[in-house]
Amino acid sequence: MSNTVVAEKGTQGGLAFFFTAGCDSFAESLKKSVLAALWFMFLTFPIMVIRVDTIENTIEWRWLNLALIGIGTFVLSFLWRWMLARKELNKGAAAKESSLERSLTLATSIPAAKWTLLACVAVVAVGFPHVAGMYQTNIMISCLTYIALGLGLNIVVGLAGLLDLGYVAFYAVGAYAYALANMHWGFGFWTILPIGALLGTLFGIMLGFPVLRLRGDYLAIVTLGFGEIIRLVLENWGDVTMGPSGIAGIDRPTFFGIEFGVMNSINYMYYIMLGLIVLTIFCVNRLQNSRIGRAWLALREDEIACQAMGIDKTKTKLMAFALGATWAGMAGVVFAAKTTFINPASFTFWESAIILSVVVIGGMGSIRGVIAGAIILILVPEYLRAFAEFRMLIFGATMVLVMVFRPQGLIRAKRKVYKYEKASVTGAANE
């Protein structure tokens, strides 16, 4: 057994393996790469080679581009096959842990290292707005918002396995709850935060009831519809929601009645969001290793067996929907307070898709995974602004690469390890 592993490792590193990866012979892989290169040259011919100069009425033929694409594709196709083949070989190893996961496990297994790590994260998180500028802080707030949303959706999708594509609806409910209450009655942020969360819960249950019998694709379609309905209502019910023009001039949160200037209030917003995240992580972490959390997992794994083991499917599903929506409602209130202006365009399907990507790419059911996913998906496009028009291309490519090479997500969920002290129950252990 160990011999074959060594042998595989040996071939894996070899140059011969690189050139023949995924093929029977070098000739075959050469043929494949040449074909791929020709195909890409053909595909990109109109956009990369021909340039029409409409002023001079001339056509410029950029043959160099064609050659570069050919050579590039040729080399990359070798690399691609090599990476795929390596992934196939390491399938057994991949089922265990990646180096990132391993180091995380190691770090958290030693209490001292765990607390130092947590303290470092806390110091960085608390100090961030003082070191970075307003722009950076703003970006970080939106990243934190997505972490909160991701952790909320993680309960529904990651733990309970209910594919929800209309999650942004609950986010909208929270945001509009604060905006409307503030506009009409002048309610403050802190009053509406719990009310927004509660409204989220209520809408979660409202959506939950009709979709109890659905699963998988069907559930996804219905929730997608629900999300769109909420958005359309917001857009068209002008008397109440102000329609597409949205609601402006929403109050920023106050600190025991004290108002801040723009700069300080952004920092304040950041700390509120940070507090919310800590609360969310605390709650989700405790929930996922509880009786309820286990029931969610069981529901995700096998619905029939779960019911046969005495779990009330209806109650468990509703609980997942309601709790997930609670966090979206809360995040919505914070979002409205942060931007001071909301309109239905902020709550499109695109948002739901991003939140879902955060959960899937990060790792379903894993808190650390969701945080990593949000950081990558929200911060990467922001910092890629330097690349201007290639921004979305790189963003898409990152997603494809993660899905191909780590389909289980960046950081997978780990189950709790239970320790059992026999001494405490010696009397009962005798049987």
């Binding site: 309820i292 997992l297 083991m309």
Partner: protein
């Protein structure tokens, strides 16, 4: 005989125009091991599904002894309510929760006997903590009972086949049943494992006062453990009785071996 715990009275189950179960009646007494046998496709698993609430029988009654000692009619009830009343089952094609640990699989079984809710989970107050400890303790004992305690923190999907079957039994036991329904518990096991399973089943009856109804194709095991045997064929109950009576019954021999054509 002692009191009956399960009394099935002429149940029928139709799937469209096909009658999968045709007036099947069957009783299981307290602390009895009963076996349900029959050729493939005879309707044995359908029968189990009708009892446990996964299917609703088209007609007939399924009566289950309740805690108060009266009979409760359970057809049409949801599967989880039937389980709460005190039946638990295993599945023919193993239905564990693969990405949960062995211990967690058993802990799921205790769900309907414990109470802590969302608030308990988040606050981890004394009540939910002590309940959680009890659950862990009970689950460990059940793992010890089926001999899987050293795999407690292993993912269920990494267990070998025979051990997965034993884990299913432990999970079913965690729901505190008085009637255990085992759907082909020995399928895919080697002779040693089957013998160990046989011992386990007898132990469950002796030590935990279980009444057991099992579906099984391993005739050696069926004949040696069961007090009474019921034979299904094409959805009909064709014979019942103890091991000897059934094995000598011409209808059973015909169902299993077919009838000679030579006249």
């Amino acid at each position: 005989m002692s009191e009956t715990v399960l009394n099935v009275n002429e149940i029928c189950k139709d799937f469209g125009g096909i009658r999968a179960l045709d007036e099947v009646s069957l009783t299981v007494h307290n602390k009895e091991i009963a076996a349900l046998i029959g050729p493939n496709g005879a309707g044995k698993t359908t029968f189990f599904n009708c009892i446990t609430g996964i299917y609703t029988p088209t007609s007939g009654d399924v009566l289950l002894k309740s805690k108060e000692g009266q009979d409760r009619r359970v057809n049409g009830m949801k599967a989880n309510h039937v389980t709460e009343l005190g039946t638990a089952r295993t599945f023919q094609n193993i239905r564990l929760f693969p990405s949960m640990t062995t211990l967690e699989n058993v802990m799921i079984g205790t769900h309907c006997r414990s109470k802590s809710g969302i608030w308990g989970a988040i606050s981890r107050n004394r009540k939910s903590r002590s309940e959680e400890n009890e659950v862990i303790e009970k689950s460990y004992h059940l793992l010890e009972l089926v001999g899987l305690e050293q795999y407690a923190n292993e993912l269920a999907c990494n267990l070998p086949y025979g051990k997965q079957r034993r884990l299913e039994i432990a999970r079913a036991m965690a729901t505190d049943p008085f009637l255990l329904l085992l759907d082909e518990p020995a399928a895919g096991m080697n002779p040693q494992e089957t013998l160990a399973l046989q011992d386990l089943i007898i132990k469950l009856r002796e030590e935990y006062d279980m009444s057991i109804l099992l579906i099984e194709h391993d005739m050696k095991m069926v004949m040696s453990v069961s007090d009474s045997i019921f034979v299904l064929d094409y959805g009909r109950l064709i014979a019942s009785g103890n091991a000897e009576e059934v094995s000598e019954n011409p209808a059973v021999i015909k169902a299993y071996l077919g009838e000679g054509e030579d006249v």
